[in-house]
């Protein structure tokens, strides 16, 4: 099976940063703006090369906004 990466659904995502701090390799960053009128910064896979596909980020999200996939 190919490596799985986090894919975000920004509708339920609250930009809370829990997933960002859960990642043991700091691959994620709160850097995506322009998704709402508040200018909130949403998480994004910023360092794909460091991602191990462990899925810790996805399981840390309280509102299931992350799906692991290609």
């Amino acid at each position: 099976m190919a490596k799985q990466y986090p894919n975000y659904d920004y509708v339920p995502c609250m930009a809370c940063g829990i997933c960002v701090q859960a990642c043991p390799f700091s691959c994620l960053e709160l850097r995506r703006t322009g998704l709402d009128t508040y200018r909130k910064a949403y998480p994004d896979l910023a360092r794909r090369e460091d991602c191990t596909g462990c899925g810790i980020c996805a399981s840390s999200c309280p509102v299931d906004a992350i799906r692991m996939g290609e």
Partner: protein, 668 residues
């Protein structure tokens, strides 16, 4: 796992040793974690007579019981110590990113005792702590030092792959300024109680955390359900787009003019915090009498230009929102200050209401750019903006009254509203240069140094400068300013907070609020005192769990703290039972003062804040609080000695404090 780790780390900086210590389960059951765990540890281990800036003081960094458990708005940490500012119990709350990082290292709290012979920082990861030389970082400002520490750890050979989270002091803490704080995430602050001076006294520049351990609640599914509902409520809480900053003065005037206030749903204020942050109060507080003006001696009439602080003007610089860890509201903002900083940085945290008012109305300054610069200067220097603002206002009033002269100020014309002189004075305080050295430990000590009757202009409670909320509008807050174990603090209790809490629907003994009277009709009754006890006990739960005070303001019908606690711990307790833990924490904080022989009667706030003598103009004209009677009622309601203000042995024991391992009632 029950959300906590059951372990703390003690680092002795004099000896260069460390020790991982198990904390008995009963301590968490009795006092939760966070401030409760901090109070437990410090009560036991700081010897009577310890100098706050000496080796015997202990500085703790505590996480909340709910931090990292999948709950929302529970990512705040607390610094705890014996305060060099008040001489008694000290704590300070901060958001940012540090709280989960403490737990990810495998501890609920990290404590420091002793004094290092050289400047050091402490690095902790899954393998444990290391004490490292900080010569390369000492002297750097708090923002640059944090950036450098993160950069150096990410690139180090064999260094962590995880970006470390950092708590750091600036030069203010290094120079032992008693109004120094501790920074995290580039300028979020544990600002109060002088915690930064304690860190500086230990020659500890920074704490750098890079652990990756998991934290788990007892009931992950239950946790998820609660967070799902909470998130959807906050997601839907939005102000109409047409609601701009221009509305606030009108709203403040209207609300301030009503003869009494009805409790509002906390989600209404959440909507405003979500859009504006705390600066929503900049002009609202001016028109409803909440914001102190002219060092607490004026009113909005003295500051007709107050609209210069319109929150829309501040939001124009906001390039994105800022959320502390696990926050779904996001009251913070990152602001672009390239045109203001003279090349010293591009971005800064959005100034808070407290800062805007401390350097706005309090000194009659309408120059918003200067407030942005001062905010950034103080965040970098590592000083508390409230205390520096209060101290600057004191100095200006001294100057206006001829107590300070240009010869004392190095030529600065310290007049009301003179933004340039005020900025220059802030720089001097940061550098401890000239008159800045005299002022760098806060208004109370400055008045002692200056003499000449200047103490009448030093507006503080027990040595801590008052926050920017006038108790003549919220009398319960005045009692908290004057009688809490950490005096002069606005985040603990107040009429407004309580009226939004909905606690009475959950806690059997919490008195309901239907309508609360305005200050002039306010009676110091037993019921009022009991409301304050309920609010304060609740705030201790908030601080024991790592929750944000803006979550608290939403009310327990929205922020499910009791349900969260049960899902995290599996204890399955009632709100009444949790509130007992809150009461225990509060009494233990005051018992710390008792043990250390602190005269808490001296915590009574400056007379101006009580309306003694009454103001002749403005919203609060003619209002005088019956503050002494209110304080007595408050102490009685807690079961503390009405005259000395200290907990009695009976109260200490009946709350079950003496049943906790190693806790003994001691009266210094």
């Amino acid at each position: 796992m029950k959300g906590y780790l059951g372990k703390v780390l003690l680092i002795d900086l004099s000896k260069g040793t460390w020790d991982s210590q198990d904390i008995p389960e009963t301590v968490y059951e009795g006092l939760l974690s966070g401030v409760g765990l901090g109070a437990y540890y410090l009560y036991r281990h700081i010897p009577v007579g310890a100098d706050p800036l000496g080796p015997d003081n202990i500085l703790g960094f505590t996480s909340g019981l709910l931090t990292g458990t999948g709950s929302f708005m529970t990512g705040r940490w607390m610094a705890v110590c014996k305060s060099p500012l008040t001489g008694g119990w000290g704590d300070s709350n901060c958001g940012g990113t540090l709280a989960p990082a403490i737990k990810q290292c495998g501890y609920d709290a990290i404590f420091f005792r002793g004094i290092s012979p050289e400047s050091v920082y402490v690095y902790v990861d899954n393998k444990g702590p290391q004490i490292r030389d900080a010569a390369a970082y000492w002297g750097m400002d708090a923002v640059e030092a944090e950036k450098a520490l993160i950069r150096d750890h990410l690139k180090a050979e064999g260094g962590s792959k995880k970006k470390p989270e950092v708590a750091v002091i600036g030069p203010g803490g290094e120079k032992l300024s008693r109004i120094a704080g501790i920074s995290n995430d580039l300028g979020r602050y544990a600002a109060r109680s002088g915690v930064g001076a304690v860190m500086g006294s230990k020659r500890l520049k920074a704490l750098v955390l890079a652990g990756t351990r998991a934290v788990r609640p007892s009931d992950p599914e239950g946790m998820k359900r609660l967070s799902g509902v909470f998130a959807s409520t906050v997601r839907k809480a939005n102000l109409p787009g047409l609601f701009t900053g221009a509305v606030f003065p009108i709203m403040g005037g209207l609300m301030g003019g009503l003869p009494s206030a009805v409790p509002l749903d906390g989600m209404l204020s959440a909507m405003m915090f979500k859009k504006f942050g705390s600066i929503m109060n900049n002009t609202y507080g001016m028109t409803n009498g909440d914001s102190p003006v002219k060092n607490w001696d004026g009113s909005v009439k003295d500051f007709p230009a107050y609209r210069a602080l319109n929150p829309d003007r501040i939001r124009r610089r906001e390039v994105r929102k800022y959320h502390c860890y696990a926050c779904i509201l996001g009251c913070g903002g990152v602001c672009d200050i390239r045109d203001l900083s003279g090349g010293n940085g591009e971005h800064t945290h959005k100034p808070e209401y407290e800062t805007c008012m401390a350097f706005g109305g309090l000194v009659l300054n309408k120059d918003l750019d200067s407030i942005f610069r001062i905010n950034d200067t103080l965040n970098r220097a590592g000083l508390d903006t409230i205390s520096v603002g209060g101290t600057v206002a004191f100095a200006v009033e001294c100057f206006e009254n001829g107590i300070l002269t240009p010869a004392d100020t190095g030529g600065l014309e310290l007049r009301w509203g003179n933004a340039r002189a005020i900025e220059a004075l802030v720089e001097k305080i940061c550098a401890r240069e000239g008159i800045g050295d005299l002022l760098a430990d806060g208004a109370k000590l400055a008045a002692e140094r200056i003499g000449k009757g200047s103490e009448r202009f030093a507006v503080h409670a027990g040595g801590q400068e008052l926050p920017m909320h006038d108790p003549r509008v919220d009398p319960m807050m005045g009692v908290t300013y004057s009688a809490d174990p950490t005096p002069g603090r606005h985040t603990t209790s107040g009429n407004l907070y309580y009226s939004q809490s909905s606690l009475w629907d959950y806690v059997s003994w919490a008195p309901k609020v239907r309508i609360h009277p305005k200050s002039q009709d306010f009676e110091p009754t037993e019921t009022e005192a009991l409301r304050n006890v309920a609010m304060t006990a609740f705030k201790m739960l908030v601080d024991g769990t790592g929750s944000c005070y803006y979550a608290m303001l939403m009310g327990v019908q929205h922020f499910p703290i009791f349900e969260y606690l049960n899902a995290a711990t599996g204890w399955n307790r009632t709100p009444d039972e949790y509130m007992e833990a809150g009461k225990r924490i509060q009494t233990l904080r005051q018992a710390f003062n008792a043990k250390h022989g602190v005269d808490v009667r001296a915590f009574r706030m400056h007379d101006r804040a009580s309306g003694i003598p009454p103001a002749s103009e403005g919203h609060n004209r003619g209002v005088t609080l019956r503050i002494d009677e209110m304080i007595r009622q408050y102490r009685r309601a807690w079961g503390w000695d009405v005259e000395t203000g200290l907990p009695t042995r009976e109260t200490f024991e009946s709350l079950g404090l003496s049943a906790l391992p190693g806790l003994e009632y001691t009266h210094g």
